[in-house]
């Protein structure tokens, strides 16, 4: 059964159809790419999947249930986490706190335990610190844990965003241009990390990316979006040789 099944999804902003008749199917454990020219509607598609926008039409089934009309936090709690194209960290907070916040909805101690520091408070807080640190280690950010997030270099901010999204323990991870602004070496490292977390956590990943070497290198399957609609899908090799895709990228390098 598909983990994510999107049928006929559309979104209009006034007269502009940013996404129209968008259909995708993603199985548990897949690593899928979503590419397309600037303004094709990729980020809008993510915003629809995560409840930031309500679709004009269409259905989104996640894990067998519709998530249309749910609020973003409810969709996250169902098991979809994301990163943002324009980094959205909790910029004045420490790197560690950024990750700890993502655990919020897994924390069980209540308000009374909080205020009177009873019961599960200490145990869970300590557990949180440990788990959050573990994620930072995976992303080679452990030595930065006390740093204020906005002071990190750009590449590390991107990695922190992924670490934070993972800490929410999603089934499906949506990455919006995770390599944007990274140098080739950082991009290479990121590719390795993405492959590794997918295996380690049994994740399903859908990623938007302009860096073709990353998409072609890491994704098993790719969807191509143009003017809001999916115009092609297939393996990296199929996509590279698809005439419609080449046309959509008119003149742009696909390799």
């Amino acid at each position: 059964m598909a983990l994510l099944k999107v049928t006929n999804l559309s979104k209009s902003f006034g007269g502009l159809r940013a996404v129209s008749s968008f259909n995708i199917d993603i199985d548990q454990g897949e690593l899928v790419g979503l590419i397309g020219p600037n303004g094709a509607g990729k980020t809008t598609a993510f915003n629809l999947l995560t409840g930031v926008y309500d679709p004009t039409e269409g259905e989104i089934m996640f894990d067998g249930k519709s998530v249309v009309g749910l609020k973003p936090y409810q969709i996250t709690q169902r098991g979809v986490a994301r990163t943002f194209q324009n980094i959205r960290l909790f910029s004045e907070l420490s790197v560690l706190d950024n990750v700890k916040i993502a655990y919020h909805f897994h924390v069980k101690y209540g308000l009374l335990e909080t205020v009177f520091r009873l019961g599960r408070y200490f145990g869970e807080e300590e557990d949180l610190d440990k788990k959050a640190l573990r994620f930072l280690e995976i992303f080679q950010l452990a030595h930065r844990k006390d740093e204020i997030a906005k002071n990190l270099p750009y590449g590390e901010q991107r990695r922190l965003e992924i670490a934070r999204a993972l800490a929410a323990q999603p089934k499906l991870l949506l990455l919006d241009e995770p390599a944007a602004g990274m140098n080739p070496q950082e991009t290479q490292q990121l590719m390795d990390m993405i492959r590794w977390i997918r295996k380690e956590f049994g994740l399903t990943i859908l990623l938007i990316e302009h860096d073709m070497s990353l998409v072609m290198g890491v994704c098993e399957r790719i969807y191509v979006l143009d003017y809001g609609s999916i115009i092609a899908q297939g393996t990296p090799t199929e996509i590279k040789n698809n005439p419609r895709v080449i046309e959509a990228y008119l003149g742009e390098e696909v390799h």
Partner: protein
């Protein structure tokens, strides 16, 4: 285990410091060394600390710019007085009822208004604060425009101080928990907070309701100290005063709110005879602050035992002050 021991140790140290301060001041009051003027302003310091730290929970920690705090203080003042005067309850009953009344109103007001952001929220809360005051003004049962008179003077330094201590510990523990971090994440980036699974509406309303409840506590303490609850005590000027304390100290910093409240209370006391100058001074202070230290005295940092530890060369432990 170390985290737990450290936190508990810090709490006990702070509690001990609080009790020492209390013992010293109470002794000085008992022997008559601290009298009228000083005693009154010390009680006002406690009340203002409650007001400032509770507004900071809404404005500084959660980032929702509310400027109607005097309205909730008024509800606490009147509901508390009704309980003691009309129903003969003791002060404790008045405080609890005042807090509950303000909390209920905070919840009812917060639910729709917290959809608004920034300037709109500020204007809405300002307006609602005034609506509360004008409503009270028109209720003969509580004295209308001439005020609610004949309230017994039940508040004393002990009550004010321990209520303040309770509120401070409550807010501090709240902030240093997953619930507090949820509030902070809303201030930092609401969209990201939602994307991390945080019910932002719930936490905004929670912070607003808690803040209102504590303003209610301050109101009940206040009306039982001044014999009278008068609508003129709860105009938007009072809201503005509380906001000034918070901004002076640094939005988001509890220590800042405490220092801001102490400073403000004594400056006000000093200028009590020249009320028109008081406003000039505050306006000047705020302008100077905005020019040279827009983040307030403390920024959003906390004064902590860790800081003292660092000064005295003690062990420096991990995370940033976790506000």
């Amino acid at each position: 285990m170390t985290g737990m021991r450290q936190k508990t140790k810090n709490d006990l140290l702070m509690l001990a410091a609080g009790i020492v301060i209390y013992a010293v001041v109470q002794t000085l009051i008992s022997v008559g060394f601290i009298q009228d003027y000083w005693e009154r302003n010390i009680v006002y310091v406690c009340i203002n600390i409650i007001l400032a730290t509770s507004l900071n929970l809404i404005n500084g920690i959660t980032g929702q710019f509310s400027i109607g705090h005097a309205g909730f203080m008024a509800v606490g003042a009147y509901v508390g007085a009704i309980m003691t005067v009309k129903f003969g309850l003791p002060l404790a009953g008045g405080i609890v009822a005042g807090a509950l009344g303000a909390a209920v109103l905070g919840f009812i007001i917060g639910l729709p208004t917290l959809r608004l952001t920034g300037d709109y929220l500020a204007i809405a809360t300002l307006g609602l604060g005034e609506i509360i005051r004008i409503t009270i003004l028109n209720i003969p049962y509580v004295g209308g425009a001439s005020g609610f008179m004949g309230i017994p003077k039940l508040t004393n330094f002990t009550w004010a101080f321990f209520m303040m201590l309770f509120v401070l510990f409550f807010i501090k523990n709240f902030v240093n928990s997953t619930h507090g971090r949820a509030c902070v994440s809303i201030r930092e980036n609401e969209i990201a907070a939602e994307a991390m699974g945080i019910d932002t509406t719930k936490y905004k309303v929670m912070a607003f309701t808690l803040g209102a409840a504590f303003a209610g506590v301050a109101g009940a303490l206040f009306s039982h100290y001044t014999y009278i609850a008068h609508p003129a005590s709860f105009t938007f000027m009072r809201s503005f005063d509380i906001l000034t304390m918070v901004v002076l100290g640094g939005l988001g910093s509890m220590s800042g709110s405490i220092v801001g409240a102490i400073f403000f209370t004594w400056v006000s006391a000093f200028f009590a005879e020249w009320p028109e100058w008081r406003m000039v001074i505050y306006s000047l202070l705020l302008i100077i602050l905005m020019l040279f230290r827009p983040q307030g005295l403390f920024g959003n940092k906390e004064l902590s035992l860790k800081m003292f530890g660092r000064l005295t060369g003690g062990e420096r432990r991990g995370t940033a002050q976790g506000n």
